[in-house]
Amino acid sequence: MGKRTMAVLAGLAMGPALLMGHAGAVWAEYPPEGDFVRGARLWAENCGRCHNIRDPRELRDDQWITTVYHMRVRGGLTGQDVRDIYTFLKQSN
């Protein structure tokens, strides 16, 4: 493996943490409470980008956690977007 490739790999893997700090510190509760109203708006705006919008009552709270984090990766959501959407979902199911 060339030095250039190794440098890119190292940058991809470690750069984000070094540059921006790791936000995944251990909180007492996770995900931390978000904004219900903003979450409702983001849910309506984002879920339909690819598929039919899912009803909050379709899943339990713990199932919504993994689902919104999966969608964070798929849909390019920010961490705050995910916390807000989850807050809306758990209070609406």
Partner: protein, 414 residues
């Protein structure tokens, strides 16, 4: 509790005293009456002791029940907020296909379970298997993707392993049958066609707000082993992009997608690109091996989605190219290119939806123009029945393998 024990001790002392008195020699009628009274008192005390013992046993039973209930409540709370979560998602479909040259066939479609294993908001393992049954009854299982996703911060996720190619939009987000509005992928967007399927490597991806009104930049950049050109009879048959678990040529491919999402306009635009060098895989008899030769490789793509009211319009163009290589048994390179434009309308509040798609797929060997019309019934957001007809018109020198066909499909996402 302590009070009851004290009363028990007093009662026992009284019993002992009574017994002693009862045993003492007595004289006369008065003495007999006193003895009788003491005996009665003794019996009453004995009865009281039995009653207290019963109460004590009942109290112990209740205390144990409370302990058990507390344990149960703690156990139930564990389900609500554990540090590690496991979740199964996925989708499955069944269907029926009728082409002009063959008899109609029922198909079991695919079963794609997806496993999520997440530790708090730090890391998540994601894996999808694709299982299907072929015409001869053989079951095939493939690893669609397997990644460890590290949520580095609010704007960056580092994804490592085998992942769906972040190039373009259909392959990474729209191909699951419960999401795709037609029972088939657009021509050129299937496996090993113009749109890359998967990659093995590492990528960083995420979203960053670019204005106060919710507009967002969506990005994904990766480095991976890259695809391989499949050589057959002195030609490049196809570009294989299943996510190769090895990199015999030692050359990596770099690429990514940049998108802009405008929620107010319900519009999303994306541009994708990749470049590098790729190896060749040649079939020799029944075995396949790397030839040791490498070629230039590049990819370009553009996609958009616009969703005004109940309408949805999507389009995507992809082009994948491998360069010439005089040292190869297939010296000539080639380009695989495809596009589609799809429109759909849902009759709210009813559950019917109509879809139309137009597209074209061109390879160095063939070219096909595809039109498709479909009618869907949405039983639930994740359970859809689809009826579609595909018109496939060969435009190239060789057959594309596509035929006009009727497609029926029921798909369920879970």
């Amino acid at each position: 509790m302590a009070e009851k024990r004290r009363r028990l001790k007093e009662a026992a002392a009284a019993v002992a005293l009574g017994a002693a008195l009862g045993a003492a020699p007595v004289q006369g009628a008065d003495t007999a009456r006193v003895a009788e009274a003491i005996r009665a008192e003794l019996e009453a005390l004995k009865s009281r002791i039995r009653e207290l013992e019963k109460q004590l046993a009942e109290q112990r039973r209740v205390e144990q029940e409370v302990k058990d209930l507390r344990r149960e409540v703690r156990s139930a709370a564990e389900w609500k907020s554990p540090n590690t979560l496991i979740h199964m998602a996925g989708y499955a479909d069944v269907g029926y296909t009728d082409t002009r040259s063959r008899t109609g066939t029922f198909g079991s479609g695919t079963f794609n379970p997806i496993l999520h294993y997440q530790y708090r908001d730090v890391v998540m393992l994601e894996s999808e298997l694709a299982m299907s049954v072929d015409e001869l009854g053989e079951t095939t299982t493939e690893l669609e993707y397997l990644t460890i996703d590290w949520f580095a911060n609010d704007y960056v996720t580092v994804v490592a392993g085998k992942f769906l190619s972040p190039l373009g939009w259909f392959r990474q987000n729209l191909h699951p049958s419960w999401i795709n509005k037609l029972p088939s992928a657009p021509a050129g967007f299937g496996h090993d066609q113009a749109a890359p399927n998967a990659e093995v490597g590492v990528q960083v991806r995420g979203g960053v707000p670019v204005s106060g009104n919710g507009n967002r930049l969506i990005y994904a950049f990766y480095v991976g082993n890259g695809p391989a050109a499949e050589i057959e009879s002195g030609e490049i048959e196809m570009i294989e992009t299943p996510g190769l678990g090895g990199d015999a040529d030692g050359k990596k491919v770099f690429g990514g997608r940049l998108g802009l999402y405008f929620p107010g306009r319900r519009l999303e635009l994306g541009l994708s690109g990749a470049a590098g060098r790729v190896g060749e895989i040649e079939e020799v008899g029944k075995s396949r091996k790397y030839t040791g030769v490498t070629r230039d490789y590049d990819f370009l793509g553009a996609d958009f989605t616009w969703r005004p009211r109940q309408f949805e319009v999507r389009g995507e163009w992809v082009r994948q190219k491998v360069g010439d290589q005089p040292a190869s048994s297939a010296p000539e390179g080639g380009t695989w290119q495809a596009w589609y434009l799809q429109g759909s309308y849902r009759f709210m509040p009813h559950k019917w939806e109509v879809v139309a798609r137009l597209g074209r797929y061109r390879t160095p060997h063939s070219e096909v123009e595809q039109k498709a019309l479909g009618l869907n019934y949405i039983f639930a957001s994740n359970f859809v029945a689809k009826l579609a007809y595909e018109f496939n018109d060969d435009r190239g020198a060789e057959s594309s393998g596509y035929e006009d066909r009727l497609l029926l499909q029921a798909s369920y996402g879970f």
